[in-house]
């Protein structure tokens, strides 16, 4: 349709007609270069050069930061308390506001007609997850619940009650599920993982401390009982004062009901399969022991 333009096309044409470019002809855009502030120069800035009058200040010998002249400094007087103890072992969840989610959907970066996963969000550059910094996923926050109006099937790692209410009010489905750090790394960057040539591992179940969260229906955990989830949906509708729309009569019901298996990382791919990217083939294990392991 359009011919590929050579880079700098118009500029090259202009150059051919202008006189020779020398250092005398070149000048930066006004406002592009800001001159540095130089202290202690000139008639008014000189003399003591902005250092004050005698003493440690002028002579550059002030004591260390926090020193209070011999009085026990603040940072030593206050007793220690473990506010930050174990901070590097705490799981972190990047917050995703409903406002941002609506923004992504409106711009077409995230497709609401397919189940929304952490992979979809990262592909859309909606969130940035760093598994090496103890990120365990994304949490849905209810800021922007007033303007949220999209029917989606979303899977996150944590969600606040208001966010769950906002999604269900619009006829969507929300699930919270757990990804261990290795699975999370694979989920975020699927292509580099497939390039490695390793079989897809099975997703691990949550540990003791996180199990109550993912087995409770109030949090829409992926391990919770579907009946209890239905009851929780009704109770939440009662609490927040909206009528729960009936999803089973929706045309996108099949998409909304799609859920990953407990050990599955990707939709459509089971643990144990090897994806061959260059040849575009999927290799599945046939050995009994392997099948038994990957299906357990």
């Amino acid at each position: 349709m359009s011919f590929p333009k050579k880079p700098g096309g118009k500029a090259l044409d202009v150059l051919q007609n202008l006189p020779r470019i020398t250092l005398a002809n070149l000048r930066p855009e006004p406002g592009a270069r800001q001159t540095d502030k130089r202290r202690g120069r000139g008639q008014h800035g000189g003399n003591r050069s902005g250092r004050g009058h005698k003493g440690e200040r002028q002579r550059g010998n002030r004591p260390r930061l926090g020193f209070e002249g011999g009085q026990t400094p603040f940072y030593l007087a206050i007793p220690k308390y473990g506010f930050n103890e174990g901070h590097s072992r705490r799981p972190q969840y990047h917050p995703l506001t409903l406002k941002r989610l609506q923004y992504l959907i409106d711009l077409g970066r995230v497709d609401p007609t397919q189940p929304i996963d952490l992979t979809q969000l990262v592909n859309a550059r909606g969130v940035t997850i760093q598994p090496l910094k103890r990120d365990y996923g994304v949490q849905l926050v209810d800021e922007g619940a007033d303007i949220f109006a999209a029917k989606i099937n979303i899977e996150v790692q944590r969600a606040t009650e208001g966010a769950i209410a906002a999604i269900e009010r619009n006829g969507g489905v929300i699930t919270t599920s757990f990804y261990d750090p290795i699975s999370l790394d694979i989920l975020i960057k699927p292509v580099p993982f497939f390039v490695r040539g390793q079989p897809i591992p099975k997703r691990m179940l949550p540990g003791e401390d996180m199990l109550p969260y993912y087995t409770s229906a109030d949090n829409r955990g992926y391990l919770a009982d579907p009946d209890k989830i239905q009851q929780a949906r009704l109770a939440l509708a009662q609490k927040y004062g909206y009528i729960l729309p009936d999803i089973s009569k929706d045309e996108l019901y099949h998409m909304l009901a799609m859920r990953k298996d407990i050990r599955q990382i990707f939709f459509g791919l089971s643990p144990g399969w090897v994806v061959n990217m260059p040849e575009k083939k999927i290799l599945k294990p046939t050995d009994e022991k392997l099948l038994k392991y990957y299906s357990s």
Binding site: D142, A145, D146, G162, A165, A166, L205, L211, P212, T215, L223, P226, D227, Q230, A237, Q238, K239, Y240, G241, Y242, I243, D246, I247, S248, Y253, A257, M258, R259, K260, D261, I262, R263, Q264, S270, P271, L291, K292, Y294, S295, S296
Partner: protein, 194 residues
């Protein structure tokens, strides 16, 4: 909705060997159930304590309520000036069939200040910055009003009556015993001539 649930549980069978996976989950659930056993029995000496914590909450039909939003009052700059966060919920009390008759009468009696001339109960909330939370707060207030109005005067059970009778009797016996002792003391102090 049953179809929806059935579909969802079918969706679980996407991957191979669903039965074995279920075992994992039930094992863990078994562990959890052990810890929940301890919270069952709390002996109460009378039957008064259970009355306050009844879970028979009236279901509030949201479609019967008139909900409107307006701008909240107070400080807050541009946000409070522009965004309608104050939630107002009204419903006509006499025609609300989802509340029992006697409870309706009680609501009208107790909440005279909340009833408009048209006979509607009006509840507002501007507690938080969010419309949804304020609406939720209004609904909570309505259910509190209904719960307060449906409180029944505490009827003593047979246990209570028996307990009270036993205590009264014991009290009386003790009184008479002490009276006899006092009388004996007084008699001992008397000095009889002859």
């Amino acid at each position: 909705m049953a179809a929806f649930i059935a579909r969802r549980s079918c969706v679980f069978c996407r991957c191979v060997g669903i039965n074995v996976i279920r075992q994992h989950v039930t094992l863990r659930n078994g562990v959890l159930r052990h810890t929940n056993k301890t919270f069952q029995s709390s002996v109460s000496y009378g039957t008064r304590e259970t009355a306050g914590t009844q879970e028979t909450q009236v279901h509030i039909p949201v479609e019967r309520l008139t909900i409107s939003y307006s701008r909240s009052s107070g400080p807050g700059g541009q946000h409070v000036n522009k965004v309608s966060t104050k939630a107002e919920v009204r419903f006509h009390v006499q025609t609300a069939e989802w509340i029992p008759e006697d409870v309706r009468e009680k609501i009208l009696e107790k909440n005279k200040t909340r009833i408009t001339k048209a006979g509607e109960l009006l509840v507002t909330s501007e507690l938080s910055r969010s419309q949804q939370r304020n609406l939720s707060d209004c609904i909570q207030k309505i259910s509190a009003i209904i719960a307060e109005a449906s409180e029944k005067p505490h009827e003593p059970t047979a246990e209570d009556i028996a307990l009270r009778a036993a205590r009264l009797e014991k009290r009386n016996k003790e009184r008479l015993r002490k009276k006899k002792i006092h009388s004996a003391t007084k008699q001992n102090r008397r000095v009889d001539f002859d």
